[in-house]
């Protein structure tokens, strides 16, 4: 449990859902290292260091991307596609966290090289349990590249 401090890029257009993630992650003391962007367009700008995210100090490269799919402007799948086309960004593991259980979304997401696909449960305890498992797996056990 001596995980390295890491930055998670949370791409989520529903503030309530972002809050849920943040609250769960606070147990893993990484809450302050969650960077929240509100849609796909912002996510791409962040990752490609464009617009307001040009400064590497304030916009550090994330170790993990937690991505919702259905978002305004640019959706999660498009973000995934662009990440996987980029030599440098494709090394960052991406996890989809969405309400969509649609088969097509799932297939496309894996096609674009997503590492894991998680569906937001409607049940509180299940959602909490999911977030705990997620936290343990990625923040405690998983080793990221340098």
């Amino acid at each position: 449990m001596d995980g390295e401090p890491i930055t998670i890029l949370l791409v989520e257009d529903d503030p309530a859902h972002a809050e849920i993630v943040r609250r769960n992650m606070s147990d893993f003391r990484v809450a302050n290292r969650i960077v929240h962007v509100e849609d796909g367009q912002q996510a791409l700008d962040y990752l490609f260091r464009r617009e307001n995210f040009k400064d590497p100090q304030t916009s550090p490269r994330p170790s993990l991307i937690l991505l919702d799919l259905r978002m305004s402007r640019v959706d999660g799948l498009e973000v995934l596609r662009q990440i996987k086309e980029d030599e440098n960004l494709r090394k960052i593991p991406a996890v989809v966290l969405t309400t969509s259980a649609a088969e097509a979304d799932l297939a496309r997401a894996y096609e674009y090289g997503v590492g894991s696909y998680l569906v937001k449960p409607v049940d509180f305890s299940k959602f909490t349990e999911l977030m705990n498992s997620f936290g343990f797996y990625w923040l405690a056990w998983n080793r990221f590249p340098e």
Partner: protein
């Protein structure tokens, strides 16, 4: 019989000869001095006499018709044959005899000269030729039928079709006048066609007036008029004394009429026999006798000559009629062919003119190397002009490159391929010069030419695409609904969980936060459901169409968003004339309300926010616009703008239904909408049409 007895002694071996003669299965007779002196049983049987003795003593000519089949007189032929037999020892020929019952007997005769005891005997041996003759006749008829092209066309032709009866009457009258014989032309069944010429009183007023006499006459007419290709049939009439003859008129192998002549009497007339006949048919004998004297007298030789002339006349008429028939048939065929062609041309023309498909006939232009370089349009139908809006020049022909104003003739390769191969092809193609899609059948009526039969499928493709869009939208809708409704539900459930924990911990700050999230999510859900319901109603449940003034509608919409307008100090420029439009008023109001609301909402923080509402005349249509100088839209996002649940701004409170709703309402009214923006920060303009909207002039439409 008396003078023929005792001749057997002249034969040296008379018994042997007699036995052979009498038992000969073939007919055998002996002639001496022009008279039959003996006849065997076979011969008697063939002639239908009960007793051979009844033949002895008769002259051969008595048992023969006047004329033989080939048209020569029996007497003439008989004399010739006898001379030949006497000279050469024998003669072989066909002969027709008249039997006891009047029927004809065809025989093959071998006539052998037997000079015995200084007397010239002629030994006559018959072979029945009736069967051979019958077969020959069938073959002849058949040959005639074939050669006369009797292909059924003669079957329906009557005498009246072939001859002008009045003209024939004149010929018949003239013939009778010249020859002095009575004459009548009848149909094969005996029905008279012409009026009788030179009929004698005896026949006309006496014999034919009696029932039996008339019957006999008709029978007689029928017999002498029957089909006989070989010559006239001459025979005494049933009245017993007068000569009658007939010749059939044949056309194309078909017996169409009989020309009958007669009513002349021989110098040697058996007056007693005639008067007996008068008695038999029940005519007044005194009257009969006096009328008989009026009957023209004519020698047998002369009558035979008249008969031969008749035969020639009838044959000539037959020939002429046949030629007429053939000519008529040729003319008719020609006329039929011409009218068929005219009809087909007419049909084609009608088809060409009225076809809904455009039709154009082209000729390929080749260069010196036989390469297709262009094609010219030779002819087009009205539908061509309808579909393309193009007309051929006055000269009627025009090069494709000129007509379509292109450097390369459109689809030259494909079209010229059809013109050279003759193989029809079918294309669905986009015709760039007209910016339209066509389905085109290309056929080649002759080498180097091709015709295109085409249909404008632009509209069909558009509708297909629309339908496809609708289907996709439907799929997106169900997907979006499941996602967008589930999303707030997740929020509510999760924060209810947190709320419990926070209440347990008495963490008031978080309790408020939790309740806030729950509230917002519930609100969002409720709004979403409302709008979904609203969206589903469009196109299904519409308000009754009413006439409205768009300017009033816009002002109403402005009132509805007045709060937000004043809150953000947005300047509204409304430059609308009075415009009449008939439609669903609440929905149209909603369109403007949504668009104005959007414009105000995405105004950003600029100091001079302006929303302009107006319209422009574009041809028949009015184009309405709602323009703002707000945050604008990245051109990449424009295609998604009207999609369901598409939100361009994550931070704003919209559900992503508003613009989808606007588009649906406009489309239901037959219009279309688009959005333009020169980019982020440069404002947005929404333009849409409402077909049927008209500017009121002086306050009236």
């Amino acid at each position: 019989m008396a003078d023929s007895s005792g001749f057997w002694s002249d034969f040296s071996d008379s018994d042997v000869f007699k036995t052979l003669f009498e038992n000969n299965p073939y007919g055998a007779l002996l002639i001496r001095d022009g008279v039959f002196v003996a006849c065997n049983r076979s011969a008697a049987r063939l002639l239908k006499f009960e007793d051979p003795a009844m033949i002895a003593g008769r002259k051969p000519l008595e048992l023969s018709p006047l004329v033989q089949p080939e048209g020569v007189l029996s007497s003439e032929k008989a004399e010739r044959m006898i001379t030949q037999a006497l000279k050469n020892g024998s003669a072989h020929f066909d002969w027709i005899h008249r039997c006891a019952d009047g029927s004809a007997l065809w025989v093959e005769v071998t006539l052998t000269h037997l000079p015995l005891n200084g007397k010239d005997y002629l030994y006559v041996l018959w072979h029945d030729a009736s069967e051979r003759r019958r077969l020959q006749e069938i073959i002849d008829r058949r040959l005639q039928a074939v050669s006369a092209a009797n292909d059924g066309q003669c079957d329906n032709i009557s005498f009246y079709d072939l001859f002008d009866v009045e003209y024939i009457q004149k010929i018949q009258d003239a013939f009778s006048e010249a020859t002095g014989v009575a004459s009548l032309i009848t149909l094969p069944d005996g029905t008279p066609v012409t009026r009788p010429s030179k009929f004698c009183r005896l026949c006309m007023d006496i014999i034919r007036k009696t029932e039996k006499g008339y019957k006999n006459c008709c029978h007689s007419d029928g017999v002498i008029g029957r089909y006989n290709p070989d010559g006239p049939i001459i025979q005494p009439c049933l009245s017993g004394g007068l000569w009658d003859a007939g010749s059939s008129i044949m056309v194309g192998g078909r017996h169409v009429a009989s020309w009958l002549i007669g009513q002349v009497r021989n110098e040697a007339l058996d007056e007693e026999k005639m008067l007996a006949y008068a008695d038999e048919i029940g005519a007044d004998p005194v009257e009969f006798a006096s009328a008989l004297k009026e009957v023209p007298v004519m020698s047998r030789e002369r009558f035979e000559k008249v008969c031969n002339a008749l035969y020639l006349f009838a044959s000539e008429l037959s020939q002429k009629a046949y030629l007429n028939l053939q000519q008529a048939r040729t003319i008719r065929q020609h006329q039929r062919a011409v009218s068929a062609r005219q009809e087909s041309e007419e049909r084609f023309k009608t088809l060409f003119e009225n076809l809904t498909e455009g039709v154009a006939l082209h000729e390929v232009i080749y260069d010196g190397n036989g390469m297709a370089v262009d094609y010219k349009i030779i002819a087009v139908n009205p539908a061509y002009t309808r579909h393309t809006g193009l007309k051929l020049p006055e000269s009627g022909e025009v090069l494709a490159t000129q007509l379509y104003k292109t450097a390369e003739p459109p689809y030259l390769k494909e079209f010229s391929r059809v013109a050279s191969s003759g193989q029809p092809e079918f294309f669905e193609l986009y015709f760039a010069p007209l910016s339209r899609h066509f389905s085109v059948s290309v056929v080649s009526p002759r080498a180097g030419q091709f015709a295109t039969v085409f249909e404008d499928i632009t509209e069909r493709l558009r509708k297909n695409r629309e339908l496809q869009d609708k289907t996709e939208e439907m799929a997106r809708f169900t997907y979006a609904v499941s996602h967008d409704l589930k999303s707030p539900l997740v929020t509510i459930m999760t924060f209810l969980g947190y709320l419990k924990q926070d209440i347990a911990r008495s963490d008031q700050e978080n309790i408020d936060k939790d309740l806030g999230y729950i509230n917002k999510a519930a609100d969002k859900m409720s709004k979403l459901l409302d709008e979904l319901l609203q969206l589903s109603r469009i196109g299904r449940k519409t308000n009754p169409a009413v006439e409205m003034d768009i300017r009033e509608v816009v002002r109403e919409a402005l009132d509805m968003v007045a709060g937000r307008i004043s809150e953000r100090a947005v300047k509204i420029v409304e430059e609308l004339p009075a415009i009449s439009f008939t439609g669903d008023r609440p929905r149209i109001t909603e369109v403007f309300q949504n668009l104005i609301d959007n414009a105000v909402k995405y105004m950003s923080d600029r100091s001079d926010p302006v929303v302009e509402i107006g319209c422009e005349q574009a041809g028949e249509n009015l184009i309405f616009y709602v323009r703002d100088n707000g945050i604008g839209i990245d051109s990449r996002h424009l295609p998604k703008l009207f999609g369901l649940f598409e939100k361009l701004n994550p931070g704003t409170e919209g559900t992503g239904i508003g613009l989808a709703l606007v588009r649906r309402i406009i489309e239901v009214h037959g219009g279309s909408i688009n959005a333009e923006s020169e980019g982020t920060g440069k404002g947005t303009v929404f333009r849409f049409t409402l077909p049927g909207a008209k500017i009121k002039e002086n306050g009236r439409t």
